[in-house]
């Protein structure tokens, strides 16, 4: 673990502002938190007395559960606010919502919103640290970090790896955060998908652009499939699931072009038969369930690091703690 670098940022809004040592600090910290999940009592007192609000304007069972579990394992006092229960539906402005939440003096606010830039706007106004849990098609930094942790634990490194990210590139925040992170840690990224799902200036994302799945898979060490929600687009981007799967669905046969020891990843939830065949999703190359476990550890690391920056004092991380874990009510309740 990098002992010399201290976390100084109030917020985690994206991968864009981070440098490689900061990313590695988060990954190293997450490694130390992975061990907590192995304990019989999966809870440490690291964030005891800290208030965390999960503010989700867009439904997200996965990411929210992962954050909630991370908060519970760190003994934080957390509260969920979702769009349906917040006053937002009654016409309250986003800023009013945020300032009302600020009045509860939380230490950290986790924000998921369907539009890019919302966490950034709120972070400027809020004293609390803000963690971007996904803003539109912009960034999803904790997803990229958990993906990086998964790659590192499987491959022992990230530098020099050849990574392909496949699917609806235009509407994916996962791809934007991942390309930046992987570039910063020295991997080589190719993105591929239907032309009608590529952003206008795909090359600006910093990856090699391909429109051919087989070409994109050739010799790859890591293949990330993106969730493709054809039904979500009012405007038809591809004619049908059947045609999509023919062009870009990952099957066992097509995966043979990748490196022998390729790992296959997916941010979930998967659409089996749309972007990925079950024989791949459940096959030996799949590390999709590891991603879920790593997600909790990464979010614990981010919560911990941000809370140290927010208070100025450094609470003890799990790996450094000599104290007995606090056996509280929220130990493991199977939220994942």
């Amino acid at each position: 673990m990098n002992e010399t670098l201290r976390w100084t940022r109030k917020d985690l809004l994206g991968i864009a502002p981070l440098d490689a040592p900061e990313i590695e600090l988060i990954l190293d910290t997450a490694e130390s938190f992975l061990e907590v999940a192995e304990r019989p009592i999966k809870k440490v007192p690291t964030l005891r007395g800290k208030g965390v609000i999960n503010l989700f304007f867009e439904p997200s069972t996965r990411t929210r559960s992962s954050f909630e579990l991370a908060e519970k394992r760190l003994s934080a006092d957390s509260m969920n606010v979702s769009a349906s229960t917040s006053a937002l539906v009654k016409g309250e402005s986003l800023l009013d919502t945020a300032t009302n939440l600020q009045a509860m003096s939380p230490d950290l606010i986790i924000i998921r919103h369907q539009h890019p830039g919302v966490p950034h706007m709120l972070a400027k106004r809020l004293e609390a640290g803000v963690i971007n849990a996904g803003d539109g098609a912009h960034e999803h930094p904790t997803q990229a970090l958990l993906d990086a942790l998964t790659i590192r634990r499987n491959k022992g490194r990230i530098k020099g790896l050849r990574v392909a990210i496949i699917g609806d590139i235009e509407h994916s925040r996962v791809v934007r955060s991942n390309i930046q992170l992987l570039n910063k840690l020295g991997a080589e990224v190719t993105i591929a998908g239907p032309r009608s799902m590529m952003p206008a200036a795909a090359h600006a994302l910093g990856a090699t652009v391909s429109y051919d799945l087989d070409e994109a898979l050739e010799g790859r060490d890591v293949v990330m499939m993106l969730r493709t929600q054809l039904e979500r687009h009012k405007r038809s981007l591809v004619p049908s699931v059947r045609e999509y799967f023919k062009l870009f669905g990952l099957t066992h046969a097509r995966l043979a072009r990748a490196a022998d020891d390729v790992i296959v990843m997916h941010p979930g939830p998967m659409n089996r038969g749309t972007e990925i065949a079950s024989d791949v999703a459940d096959g030996p190359a799949s590390v999709i369930l590891e991603q879920v476990a790593n997600g909790v550890a990464v979010r614990m690391a981010v919560l911990y690091l941000l809370s140290t920056a927010a208070t100025g004092a450094a609470p003890t991380a799990a790996g450094q703690s000599d104290k007995e874990p606090h056996a509280g009510d929220g130990a493991h309740r199977g939220e994942s």
Partner: protein, 431 residues
């Protein structure tokens, strides 16, 4: 002074592109009209003297694309606050768009705007009527009624005229009143959910993009229809290099087409959305475009293809703009930043000379809409703007006279500012 009295503007640098004048002259005004421009004029008995030494004297500046928001949206701007903002920015006349509530699609709304303008005599107001009833894009509005009440042009600005057949009829019919049809050129179907220029920065930021083609296909369609009908076509706030190229091409074919650009499209690119951290002062329609577009527009400003510069002053309430990028309304204010921005970034930067700038801000807009003004020829109404070319200013939205404060130019240090205006020879004193 009363209109009957005389005024001598002494010792200023007179720049009037309509007469090819750029030199130090005295300007004599009597009965509200320019009488003579000569090197040395003796002040007639009783004449008031304006000492313009060190200042530039130009025909009054005209902004032909602003939103006064009245009637209906007085919380954003009123005719009163809008004309004061115009005068503070150095403008003697403005043309206001029809997207009010009710829409300016009838004689009564046009007359209401002009009545309000009479009550606030800080700048002249030329209403622009709607092309279609309610700006619904279906039936022609009563263009003749509005024209006879004082509307100088017709536009559904804020919305484009999407229907090709309606646009063709508007071109045909507007010729009876010799007025141009102004188009906010945007194919809404291509825009879709877009909120910024579709390109490198929308790609990086994950924001839905508005392709340049949304403007280009509309301009191309309109130019074809203008060619077929002989109508007068004016492209509002042109933002793409390709649309400008189309205007050039069709003008060479004899089509009666003009175009305007807005200062923000000349000075900022789509990168600003990222640089300003999703700030809504970078959200307007058309959106800030790519560098190549900016360069093409500047080339059009230099080579004469661009007829005028207009601010697209589009005030919104602070609460409306102080929201997330996607939810904010499109539009920024411009009346009080245009002159300083252009003096600093175009004239002092050596891109165009002062005479060309005055052409773009006075002679050009007057010609596009067929307004009086834009000239200091003897006999013309003495609407005049005074500029201090070297005075340094810092853009401070807190000091704006407009109700709107959203601008991406806040804090910019600029050299050159308008220091006063005259209407019919009478100095405008701001309330």
């Amino acid at each position: 002074m009363s209109e009957g009295a005389a005024r001598l503007i002494r010792g200023g640098r007179v720049v009037d592109p309509s007469q090819g004048i750029d030199g130090t002259f005295d300007v004599l005004i009597e009965d509200g009209k320019v009488v003579r421009i000569e090197e040395r004029i003796e002040a007639p008995d009783g004449a008031e003297i304006t000492d313009a030494e060190g200042l530039v004297v130009t025909p009054g500046l005209i902004d032909i694309h602003i939103h006064l928001r009245e009637p209906g949206f007085e919380y954003k701007e009123t005719v009163g606050t809008g004309v004061v903002s115009a005068a503070a920015g150095g403008f003697t006349a403005v043309a206001c768009m029809a997207n009010t509530a009710p829409v300016n699609d009838s004689r009564s709304v046009t007359e209401h705007i002009l009545l309000e303008a009479d009550r606030h005599p800080y700048a002249r107001v030329y209403p622009i009527g709607a092309v279609s009833k309610g700006m619904a894009g279906e039936e022609l509005a009563e263009i003749g009624e509005m024209a006879s009440a004082g509307a100088v042009a017709f536009s559904d600005d804020g919305l484009p005229v999407m229907s090709s057949s309606l646009m063709r009829r508007a071109f045909q019919y507007a010729q009876h009143y010799d007025v141009p049809v102004i188009q906010h050129a945007e194919d809404l179907d291509l825009t879709g959910p877009g909120v910024m220029h579709e390109g490198e920065w929308s790609t990086r930021l994950g924001l839905p993009g508005i392709p340049g083609a949304a403007e280009d296909v509309m301009v191309a369609r309109d130019l074809l229809l203008a060619e077929d009908t002989g109508g007068r076509y004016h492209v509002a706030h042109m933002s793409t290099g390709r649309a400008l190229e189309l205007v050039r091409l069709f003008r060479a074919r004899g089509v009666n087409a003009t175009c305007e650009v807005s200062p923000h499209h000349l000075l900022l690119t789509d990168q600003a959305v990222s640089d300003y951290g999703f700030a809504t002062c970078t959200k307007m329609k058309p959106p800030l475009r790519a560098k190549a577009d900016v360069e093409a527009l500047i080339a059009g400003v230099v080579d004469g293809t661009v007829d005028c510069i207009a601010s697209d002053h589009a005030p919104h309430h602070h609460d409306e703009k102080d929201v997330q990028f996607s939810a904010a309304p499109f539009g920024i204010v411009g009346l009080e930043t245009t002159v300083s921005l252009l003096l600093d970034r175009l004239v002092h930067a050596g891109i165009i000379d002062l005479s060309r700038l005055i052409e773009l801000l006075s002679t050009g807009p007057a010609r596009v809409l067929g307004l009086e003004g834009g000239t200091l020829t003897p006999g013309s109404t003495a609407d005049i703007t005074l500029l201090a070319l070297d005075r340094e200013v810092t853009v401070d939205p807190g000091s704006f006279r407009s109700k709107g404060t959203s601008t991406p130019f806040s804090g910019w240090n600029l050299r050159g500012v308008a220091v006063g205006t005259m209407l019919a020879g009478v100095p405008v004193r701001l309330p």
